[in-house]
């Protein structure tokens, strides 16, 4: 399959996924009790006031009209306006996106940086103390609800020891970069930025660290027992080369696939982590939008996440081919 055709196919699939997301949200909207008018209008608003607000928001139209209107607007790049704040959904969603991306990337970095060495050590020193420690850690990690972990971390490190801020996002990545040339002292800004990011990233990253550690460990044990490992060893290649060049590389193939699929889990985890740390990201926005029935914001957020999912899986496919040349041969 040519590269162009591959991309085209993925692009079409991506559009399909986004269309699916929009449709699902509209279906949800139709069947979910509670109307956005209830959050916009005060409790004692008269029926006339409610009617006026409904007209202003376009909610008096039949749902299929709203749906087609929305799709038409979306094709022109307009995701609608928040029912609550009247601000364009695209503005509101993209303002929140960097905070979540930052959190997700930091958590992924933590996860990858910790889990691959842990998994490798665990697999190559099977039944040694290091293995038991890593296995226990990863077992705890996948078994602990992350909101609970977050709360405990806040209590210990922020409230009792006072080493990290309790919540919130001191500076963004962008602001930190700007501080290099800007008037604010770079070191102070960077420290505050990292400090506020630390606990949320650990909270979100722990589950994935544990998950990947387990994947790497068992994958590596599998690969180490394969015939080709014995063959390469027999050829006299150094053990470390065998381990890292061939075994780890092949181990990472399924790991990468799984991670691509776990984006939803990552976002779900981010929703909770953001709730615990009052992190002003997309997760907080989604919960708020659901509670307030602010459908344009929910739709916009989910479209952005859906696109992220599609792009990420394209990236995963590319990485897949790079890591495991056998895939291309198939």
């Amino acid at each position: 399959m040519g590269y162009g055709r591959f991309l085209l196919k993925r692009g079409v699939q991506g559009v399909g996924v986004v269309w699916g997301v929009v449709t699902v949200v509209f279906v949800l909207r139709f069947i979910t009790p509670g109307s956005p008018i209830d959050t916009v209008a005060p409790l004692d608003a008269s029926q006339e006031t409610r009617q006026r607000i409904a007209e202003e928001l376009g909610l008096d139209q039949p749902l299929y009209v709203q749906y087609l209107d929305y799709l038409a607007e979306l094709l022109q790049g307009n995701m609608g306006y928040s029912y609550i704040s009247s601000i364009p959904a695209s503005v509101q969603v993209f303002q929140k996106l960097p905070a979540t991306l930052e959190l997700a990337v930091a958590a992924s970095l933590v996860a990858v940086a910790l889990s691959i060495p842990l998994g490798v050590i665990s697999a190559t020193r099977r039944h040694e103390p290091a293995d038991y420690a890593a296995t226990s850690f990863s077992l705890l990690g996948i078994s602990t609800p992350n909101f609970w972990l977050g709360i405990m971390l806040v209590l210990v490190f922020a409230v009792e020891l006072n080493v990290f801020p309790t919540s919130g996002r001191a500076y963004g990545f962008g602001q930190t970069l700007a501080a290099i040339t800007g008037p604010e002292p770079f070191f102070t800004v960077a420290t505050a930025w990292l400090a506020s990011l630390f606990l949320p990233a650990i909270t979100l990253g722990t589950y994935f660290t544990a998950l990947i550690t387990r994947l790497v460990r068992s994958g590596m044990l599998d690969e180490l027992s394969q015939g080709y490992v014995r063959a390469t060893r027999a050829k006299g290649l150094p053990e470390t080369l065998v381990r890292y060049k061939h075994v780890l590389r092949n181990t990472l193939v399924p790991v990468v696939t799984v991670l691509g699929l776990q984006l939803g889990t990552l976002i779900g985890g981010a929703v909770i982590t953001e709730a615990v740390f009052a992190w002003p990201g997309l997760g907080t926005e989604i919960i708020r939008a659901i509670n307030a029935r602010d459908w344009p914001i929910l739709q916009g957020s989910l479209i952005v996440i859906g696109c992220g999912f599609v792009l990420l899986n394209i990236a995963v496919d590319a990485l897949y081919a790079y890591l495991d040349p056998r895939v291309v041969a198939e």
Partner: protein, 357 residues
């Protein structure tokens, strides 16, 4: 290769035994799961108190071994303005409430025991539902391939593109429209037959227990709908590979109906990975349920997740309210995961890391 109805081969049993003997973790896992199961099934016999009974004047008692001395601030309204008075209060643990009480003076131990019911009910039925849905979709997609496969798997993609937690919250809204009550009450057989009362009288715990068990149907439906994708992917993979096997081709050549072939030949061969996945999914679904409760979307008032959500507000003053159910979750999920590891190591179904929160 075994053809025919599902049965466990002697080799499988041998593998399970061998792995169980060699792995201490597997044994710990089985012990934990059995303990949680016993607690859930026999809750009306062993819970020291009725988990719903409030003793407002016994609220926020610490667990045994802890004494809580704290300053408490109370308010008084004097001529329309409020004055606050801070006083020292010492709260001692009592053996009546060995794990302490929550903000309404309910016994944490009894709630932890009863909470096991909710978590396991949601975990078990949610997984069964997810497996039924997912396996049906997956087998259909893998067996028929082509357009059916494309359609079903793109649906799976859309489902994956939704964060599961967000999907679950949205679905809860959906279901509560059709069913006003998000939980369904069923009579507790141990209590209604009078056995629990008789037994408790015998051991000197005469407190009457709740007569009904709350079955959080909506949460079960929701976690089932959210987690089917993982089963679908596994089942599809198995179906894809098995349909090319000679014996399936042979069965088709002999004119066997599709349904018959799928159920007699494809499904039995896919059952091992599905079972292992199901074990892991029970753990994942218990975590998902607790997350839903944490965010206030579950609708049940007697579950570990709900207790954590309530206890979170009291973390600074009464840490045990959230800690006891939190530990209960961690221990049961660890147990289930260990059993899952044991099954996987013994049966080697070739699945890794499917599922998730």
């Amino acid at each position: 290769m075994k053809i025919g109805p599902i049965s466990i081969s002697p080799r499988t049993i041998r593998n399970l035994r061998k792995e169980f003997r060699s792995s201490g973790l597997a044994r710990i896992g089985v012990v934990l799961v059995v303990l949680v199961l016993l607690a859930a099934v026999f809750a009306p016999l062993i819970a020291p108190h009725n988990p719903r009974t409030q003793t407002l004047d016994q609220a926020q008692l610490p667990p045994l071994g802890f004494t809580d001395t704290e300053q408490q601030t109370r308010s008084e309204m004097v001529n329309g303005s409020i004055e606050t008075v801070t006083e020292n209060v010492t709260v001692n643990a009592t053996t009546t409430y060995p794990l302490g009480t929550n903000s309404l003076g309910q016994d944490m131990l009894s709630r932890a025991i009863y909470g096991a019911r909710t978590s396991l009910l949601v975990g078990f039925f949610g997984t069964v539902l997810a497996a039924l849905l997912g396996v049906t979709v997956g087998l259909t997609a893998g067996y028929y391939r082509g357009r059916v496969d494309d359609l079903l798997m793109r649906t799976a993609d859309v489902s994956l593109a939704f964060p599961s937690l967000v999907l679950a919250i949205a679905l809860i809204g959906l279901f509560s429209r059709f069913q006003a009550d998000v939980a369904y009450r069923i009579t507790d057989p141990l209590v209604s037959t009078g056995f629990a009362g008789w037994f408790r009288e015998l051991v000197g715990l005469p407190t009457p227990m709740p007569e009904t068990v709350v079955l959080p149907t909506v949460v079960i439906l929701v976690v089932g709908f959210v987690n089917w994708v993982w089963f679908a992917r596994i089942a599809r993979g198995e179906a894809l590979s098995i349909r090319e096997e000679e014996y399936v081709k042979a069965a088709r050549a002999l004119g066997g109906s599709d349904a018959r072939i799928v159920f007699r030949h494809v499904l039995p061969n896919a059952i091992t990975p599905i079972l292992v996945l199901a074990t892991i999914q029970v753990a994942a679904i218990i975590l998902l349920e607790s997350a839903l409760s944490f965010l206030g979307f579950s609708g049940t008032t007697l579950s570990w997740g709900f207790d954590i959500a309530q206890g979170r507000d009291y973390l600074s003053s009464s840490w045990w309210i959230a800690t006891v159910p939190g530990l209960a979750i961690v221990l049961s999920v660890i147990g289930i995961n260990l059993v899952g590891d044991w099954l996987r190591d013994a049966l080697d179904p070739g699945i890794e890391g499917e599922g998730g929160l």
